[in-house]
């Protein structure tokens, strides 16, 4: 059959299933086309989170502060180390990075599994949900910079120009979290138990990451294992280098997380887009 016979005089063929490129590339193209949708989804997530509370968006600032106060009261007496000049600043910086990771990965998965019903009806780029989750995380961590700076000043941590490095670790952490979020979403579509299980994994993972304790208190072998094989550690460390330690990251402190973030993002993107066509009848 002559497939050129097709009326394109009034509007060009805007969809041809035979001319789709590689799913991973096609998805990128569609995401660009639907960028306004992602902005709207981020807006929605930020708006609805605190919509019913009186203080509203102020909770984005108050939440980490409250956590920080609790943890400081609980642990500052236990961890007495010369290394830690200001435990509140140390724990808050770690907490912000960790919260970003855990929220983005959880939201990417939950938004797709619970909100993905729309995919039965209309076409949306399937990565929209994970991208919107990452965008929401970025808004939150950007807002949290205000209480962070406040605590740094109050507890006497010297502010240096090296604070300007801060966007870099956040960006890398965002790539890494998006990659993990995409892999988790794919798994969660096929295995509903994954999202419950992940909450337990997150709790364990947090305690295996030097967030509330300094890595120096760990025994040598465990410290080696955690600082080498726990990918989140690299990002938390890099974030702290700029905001807490106020110095320029060393090449390895910068290059390793960059590599880790890219590998996770690319693998996550390919795995997700390879399976995404099945989502419409699996969710």
């Amino acid at each position: 059959m002559d497939s050129m016979v097709f009326d394109t005089s009034q509007s060009p063929i805007i969809y041809d299933s035979a001319k789709r490129g590689h799913p991973a590339i096609e998805e990128l193209r569609q995401i660009f086309h639907y960028r306004y949708l992602i902005a709207q989804l981020v807006r929605r997530d930020v708006l609805i989170r605190y919509k019913r509370s009186v203080l509203g968006i102020a909770w984005t600032l108050l939440n980490p502060l409250g956590m920080m106060v609790v943890l400081t009261l609980a642990f500052s007496q236990i961890f007495r180390f010369g290394e830690i000049k200001s435990y509140p600043s140390y724990v808050l910086s770690g907490l912000l990075a960790w919260t970003f990771f855990s929220q983005v990965t959880t939201a990417a998965m939950v938004n797709l599994v619970w909100g993905g019903g729309i995919l039965h009806r209309i076409y949306l780029p399937r990565t929209s949900f994970a991208l919107a989750a990452t965008g929401t995380g970025l808004v939150n961590i950007a807002l949290s910079t205000i209480p962070l700076l406040l605590i740094l000043i109050v507890t006497g941590v010297p502010l240096s120009l090296n604070l300007l490095w801060m966007p870099l670790p956040i960006l890398l952490l965002a790539c890494f979290s998006l990659g993990v979020g995409l892999m988790l979403s794919t798994l969660a579509v096929f295995f509903p138990d994954v999202s419950e299980m992940y909450q337990i994994v997150l709790t364990a993972w947090m305690y295996l990451t030097p967030i509330i304790y300094p890595e120096e208190i760990l025994p040598e072998t465990i410290r080696f294992l955690i600082t080498t094989f726990n990918p989140v550690h690299y990002f938390v460390k890099l974030y702290r280098v700029s905001v807490y330690y106020g110095r320029v990251p060393s090449p390895s402190e910068f290059l390793i997380p960059t590599g880790v973030a890219l590998v996770f993002l690319i693998v996550g993107w390919f795995v997700f887009t390879k399976k995404a066509d099945e989502f419409a009848y699996r969710i």
Partner: protein, 422 residues
């Protein structure tokens, strides 16, 4: 470029150059686990044991047809025929597993009563969000915003969270957003039933306005008179296969005929099952009962006014003097409608033995649509002995769909005539 003439391709599979949607050998295979594997752990164990089995389910199989620009095109078929799968292919929600789908225009699916709305957001925020899901930018939505709210008649509530909306308001806003689009193709999936009567009228008017603007409409419906009324052409799907495509009247008639045939077969099989509804001394045995239409074709589905012929073969095991044969017709709920027999008709059969056949002819069935059961019996002439009784063993159906018979009140038609004098 068009080297094929219409006559070289089979008439109802022809693909025209005016197509706006085209499917070429389009198939959709769903891959589903043959057993449900609930947990990840179980999956890993089974994967290592090599016990993960998938079965594929063919939702659409080698479908070929085109939809022409500007027509209203109906998709018909029973549940599970693949209609929704086909819509999803056109809406890009699903990819064909093999074959090709081409769409030459922007597709707007008519969303189910505001799918994608968020209860905590205001109506206004949701309009923009829903617009974004349909692929519109903020500026484009800003231009449409007034019309959308006008149509939904929701100006008083547009800045209130949608959780405060009634379900009717929710549906109205959903319909208003979904249809305020400059699309070339509108997908309507059996949802012209939101809101109150006034809003339904408004909705149908809007669909009609789309049609007049030259928007191609792809409609799925089980309402055959609606399909005949608004579609020009239709495709009939059955178990994922395209059975027919072409002018709506022909396709719908063929479809209805096949539904009737299927029902006929089901009724025929049904009558074999009931054994304990037969009794009698069997001095005369009714060995076979057959029901025909006026053309002597075995039939179980009739229309009001059609002829029915019932034949019963009997075998008298001994000589019986003047037996009475009769039938009874009950409505499905047990209402006894009629009970003619040979005695009422003044017929004396005399002494009978061996085999023979009784034939009862109904010139015009008076019953209105529904399901009816026929009983047959042979009894002694003074009613003191039942030779053989088949209690409601033979179902028939009266179905006037597509027959141009509109009477519907009560049980029967009197087949009377009206005259007007002045």
């Amino acid at each position: 470029m068009n080297l094929l003439t219409e006559s070289e391709t089979p008439p109802h599979y022809s693909i025209s150059s005016k197509d706006i949607i085209r499917l070429e050998n389009a198939s959709v295979r769903y891959r589903v686990p043959s057993e449900r594997i609930g947990t990840f752990k179980e999956y890993i164990i089974r994967l290592l044991q090599g016990r993960v089995k998938h079965k594929t389910f063919l939702a659409l199989s080698d479908v070929n047809f085109g939809v022409r620009r500007g027509e209203v095109f109906g998709l018909i078929g029973q549940n599970g025929a693949g209609k929704s799968t086909l819509l999803k292919l056109v809406a890009r929600v699903l990819q064909p597993s093999s074959g090709r789908v081409q769409v030459a225009g922007k597709v707007a699916p008519l969303l189910e009563t505001g799918a994608g709305f968020h209860a905590e957001l205001t109506g206004r925020e949701n309009v923009y969000l829903n617009g974004a899901m349909l692929g519109f930018t903020h500026q484009e939505m800003a231009k449409k915003f007034k019309d959308i709210v006008d149509f939904a008649e929701l100006w008083d509530f547009i800045d209130a969270p949608m959780r405060t909306y009634s379900s009717g308001m929710w549906a109205r806003l959903g319909f208003a957003v979904a249809t305020d689009v400059d699309a070339d193709i509108l997908i309507v999936d059996e949802i012209l039933s939101v809101g109150d009567d006034a809003f339904q009228r408004k909705s149908s008017e809007r669909i009609e306005a789309f049609r007049q603007k030259g928007v191609t409409i792809l409609l799925v419906s089980h309402n055959m008179s609606l399909v005949k009324q608004i579609c020009q052409r239709a495709a009939w799907l059955d178990q994922g296969k395209l059975m027919d495509v072409g002018s709506v009247d022909i396709v719908v008639d063929r479809y209805l005929q096949s539904v009737r045939d299927k029902e006929n077969r089901r009724l025929m099989e049904e009558q074999v099952e009931t054994v304990d509804r037969r009794w009698g001394s069997k001095k005369i045995e009714i060995t076979q009962v057959r029901i025909y239409d006026e053309l002597k074709q075995p039939q179980h589905i009739f229309y009001t006014g059609q002829s029915l012929i019932l034949e019963m073969n009997y075998l008298a095991h001994e000589t019986v003097d003047s037996p009475v044969f009769g039938i009874a017709i009950h409505r499905q709920d047990g209402l006894h409608l009629t009970g003619p027999n040979t005695a009422f008709s003044g017929m004396n059969l005399g002494k009978i033995s061996g085999s023979g056949k009784m034939i009862y002819t109904v010139p015009h069935l008076p019953f209105l649509p529904g399901k009816y059961y026929i009983s047959v019996a042979a009894v002694k002439n003074d009613d003191t002995e039942i030779y053989d009784y088949h209690d409601r063993l033979y179902p028939i159906q009266i179905d006037n769909e597509n027959r141009g018979i509109f009477e519907k009140y009560g049980l029967i038609t009197l087949q009377g005539e009206w005259q007007h004098e002045r």
